[in-house]
């Protein structure tokens, strides 16, 4: 579904992604681990068109999307949920969700998607007329994920969904993600520090260090010691 071929990416003047290649198959859940500052977030930004690689190529369903602007990539069915959330603070939850379905591809299924989103996050239904700037951290995170889902993606990339969340909220976010994959067949790429949670739902794992893939394995074969070693 997604194929990344030897891309190089920069953050400011730092060369953070070095000749990195990876692939994601349809309906998979892929977890991306690695120490902070080693290029995970930059990689996601390169894939969703917020930044562009200086070399290498990215293919989505065998269409080359390397140089596509972000809005075009959303239209193709890749949704990206940034760690910073980037919600529209002066708008209500409902307005944020509606804007999630801004691209043409999502128009037809707005009502089904809304229904699904409220089923996954009942909390948001209660808060639908509240301005997002007044929400708590966990609720904002839910809006970010829900807004991503509204774009009717076939591939959803989530950057650190659990950051700053309490254990129970963290669980509900991961459950929601699992449900999205199970029920809607949406492919997931998850960047996460909470290795245990992410590992429990992933099919495959990429370990990234210094901008390169350290190893790639089916989740079932991953030894936690290996990951720990890479982190420390």
């Amino acid at each position: 579904m997604l194929k990344v071929d030897a891309i190089n990416g920069y953050y400011a003047d730092l060369h953070v992604i070095k000749d990195l290649s990876l692939r994601i198959e349809k309906r998979e859940v892929v977890a991306l681990f690695g120490p902070n500052g080693h290029g995970k977030s930059t990689l996601l930004k390169l894939l969703c068109g917020l930044q562009h690689p200086r070399s290498g190529s990215v293919y989505f369903n065998s269409e080359e999307i390397t140089a596509y602007p972000a809005h075009k990539i959303v239209e193709l069915g890749i949704a990206y949920i940034p760690e910073e959330r980037n919600l529209f603070g002066d708008m209500t939850v409902m307005e944020n969700l509606n804007l999630g379905a801004y691209n043409k591809r999502a128009h037809g299924s707005i009502s089904q998607n809304l229904e699904f989103v409220f089923e996954v996050f009942p909390r948001l239904l209660e808060r639908k007329n509240q301005l997002t700037s007044t929400l708590s951290g966990g609720e904002s995170r839910m809006v970010a994920v829900a807004r991503g889902l509204m774009s009717e993606p076939s591939l959803l990339m989530v950057d650190e969904p659990s950051i700053g969340l309490s254990p129970s909220l963290r669980n509900s976010v991961f459950e929601a993600l699992a449900k999205i994959n199970r029920e809607k067949g949406i492919t997931l790429l998850i960047v996460e520090q909470e290795i245990r949670d992410a590992l429990s739902m992933a099919n495959r794992v990429y370990m990234i260090k210094k901008g390169q893939i350290l190893f790639e394995k089916p989740a079932a074969e991953v030894d936690i010691d290996e990951i720990e070693k890479a982190y420390f």
Partner: protein, 241 residues
Amino acid sequence: MLETRELSRSFGKLAALSNVSFVVNKGEVFGIAGPNGAGKSTLFNVITGNYTPTSGKTFFNGQDITGRKPYQICQLGIGRTFQIPTTFHTLSVYDNIKVGSTFGGQTTHPPEEILEFLNISHLSSLPAKNLDLYSTKLTMLGAVLATNCQLLMLDEPMAGFSIVEINQFIDVLKKINKDWGVTIVIIEHLLDILIGLTARMLILSNGSLLYLGPSSEVTKDRKVVEVYIGAAHKEEFHVES
């Protein structure tokens, strides 16, 4: 030498830093670690006056420096570097360092001395924008050292370095600490590097203090392991796999 008392800072509703207290002793190399968004850079920014704390105080050599402006903090003898390699890109390496020695405070080091000390005299006339990453960071460090700081605060100085460069840089830091007697506070992600470099360290998580103590014992701390690996039940997990 440096002391913070219950330092807190929030951005709107988000508490980036809550009640962080610690002491850095004269002459030591002190480490700070923690996951992304844990508040490490915020802590630096609050100490160096880029942000004002929501509550709490900072003391330097017994003097309350809370709320001072960055340039005043510098002139008191606290220097810092940035996570993103920052130089004055249109100026030469020499002039970059000259800025530090011109504005840094009463007694400063002449640029020549710094160039010599960091072994970058050969780059002296090169514009900073033409430097590679390693030299860029050395130039930034040199400019800060030129202010004759007694306390040097480094924000992930080795991000993006190769193993060789990391080792070189560590030698430079040791020299600064030993030969010049500069106290160092360093933020670093990679714990093994930090453990080798520092005697004591502080680990932040979600803006609050998670660990404060000897660096050698940090990997034995259950909470630290949890936060870094995310394996709340590490043993259980081993059984599963």
